[in-house]
Symmetry: C4
Subunit: 196 residues, 4 copies
């Protein structure tokens, strides 16, 4: 039986995730295309590539948080701790900042500081998520919590905060690791669920 | 019995569709109307017509995706494949880009490249939707999937990507076909449902 | 028993209403306040008054549509007609245009044409709503539909479209009537519901 | 058993809260960072600090309203009074204005008038919430309503409206009290709920 507050916990979170993801595209600057029919030149799109790549990176990052949040909240039975509510709000605070740092990184590229800011926000989101995950499992008296995976996100993003001091490129590479890490291995989390 | 994750799958998608549709109108540029009471001239609205038509075109395109998504998710029983979750996210990625390409097409009109970009995003959305449709039916062990209709959208939009190289007008005509195709024939999908 | 599609019909509509209402405030232009502590002057707020009044007018108009939509959808049992889905989408199309015409009216004030545009969008929304109301009641085999109230909104808004040709002030007065009409009389629709 | 209208009451409110919170971050101005790799200087972030602090202040304020709204609506059984619907809409009206006054306060800082405007919107929201709380409890025939806490928010925000006439700093301090008051004391409202 679903307690009402779980539904609202989810619907408020889904709202924030959905808006953050849609605002990402809103932040894309409309290009000025001089091309008319006589000069259909794809080169006019070249300046758009960096911001489109950043858009995809952020979109995927938010989507991964949403998918994980979705799976996590299935464990949750009842929100009987204020701590869980506020860790979730902290996660959402960082999520709402993602469109802002995405645009900061796009418009200032290449800027070491902007890459660090971007990585810092994702670091904050992944730390909040790991804490939320820890407390939800603890509250559910779930003994077999493997927190190993929960360290990876925060650590990589922390490295990505520091990396740009040395090399912007290294920063970008580190930022691309969590999405790749998420898709490449055969982490068949949902499939497992269904066989349970 | 609704598994929770289906509810969130739908509410996240509904959120993105609702925001995308509302942002379309936000992208409309507020006109500067010099008319005062003495000169109530409808001619001041003429420059607004192209962007209003584009707004309606995009609004209807997103609404069709929403209606189809709505019907498709009724087939869905349980999201037990990560593939379905991510095909849906891919569809939403293209949907969030619709306001951006709509504004790009409006502000640069007439631009062959902008029409191609616009068509490309709708092409991406319709391919994602067809794949999503295929996998949801397959997962539900639904044998009588008629994928014929699923080819039409992607093909028309692909032609609309290429058409502007030859003629911008042809591009616009192709973009107008899917909505017309949707409304004109007596495709009484929902009515059938109710008699079943 | 709620059919799934009714839930999504409502959640998509709620999303659009909620976003439209929130974007209204986003369209308010941030004022430049020269006042520092030494000169705390409320006069700096005077130029904000027209746009704040317009904001409240539009907010209340959308809220009334939401409240009525909310009550109407309780009558709805199953969405078995495509017509109902698309009349609802038409209503939402006009709702998404409200922030745009609100800003147009604010920034161009006083402009007869902008008031007409604003009234036209509300006219479109109220006609769509009345049609939706008619078809939902008809589909539910509800015999005692009193459509009298359904004519009032469209008629007043139609007058408000035409009034600015003669007088902008008359246009504003007509636009203010539906909200006042809604609040002043003892139309205890919800209370009746509960005693039934 | 949940009456449908309660679900929509909540989903519409959640939508507005979620959008307001996400738009807060949208209002942050993307900084121009001159730093390249050779000059990774955190000083470039100093001008961002005031608007980030204001963002956090507003985010937490909206989140507290959401958490309280969430708890309040659990008391609510059926919305059988139009008054409750409209007090909620009044609360949401003030919530949608929070991103606007947040940006006004950020961009005009230090401005006594902007701080007063900001405090006034939060004052309006907290008065609406207290009235809503009163009527929901009254409708639910709930005898043990302790309204004491309901006076604190409105009073502090009213003081914060007036304080900037004397001192902007005092205004900021007063604005920071409700969030601190909320987190510091051991007000274990949710925990109590679960033991009941």
């Amino acid at each position: 039986m679903q307690p009402t507050n779980k539904i609202r916990f989810e619907s408020f979170s889904d709202g924030v995730f959905a808006i953050a993801v849609t605002l990402l595209a809103l932040e894309l600057r409309v290009p000025y295309l001089k091309t008319t029919q006589s000069s259909f030149s794809l080169q006019a799109l070249v300046p758009l590539i960096p911001s489109l790549l950043t858009f995809v990176l952020s979109f995927v990052a938010i989507a991964i948080f949403w998918v994980n949040h979705h799976q996590l909240s299935q464990v949750l039975q009842r929100i009987n701790k204020r701590r869980i509510l506020w860790l979730n709000i902290l996660l959402l605070l960082f999520v709402t900042l993602i469109p802002f740092v995405t645009e900061t990184m796009s418009l200032n590229a290449p800027s070491a500081l902007a890459v660090s800011m971007y990585a810092f926000v994702l670091f904050g989101a992944s730390v909040s998520f790991s804490l939320l995950r820890y407390w939800i499992h603890k509250t559910s008296h779930d003994e077999h919590i493997t927190m190993t995976r929960s360290y990876i996100g925060p650590i990589i993003y922390l490295l990505a905060v520091l990396a740009p001091i040395v090399s912007i490129t290294l920063g970008y590479i580190l930022l691309a690791i969590p999405p790749l890490f998420y898709f490449l291995p055969k982490s068949s989390i949902i499939e497992d669920d269904s066989t349970d």
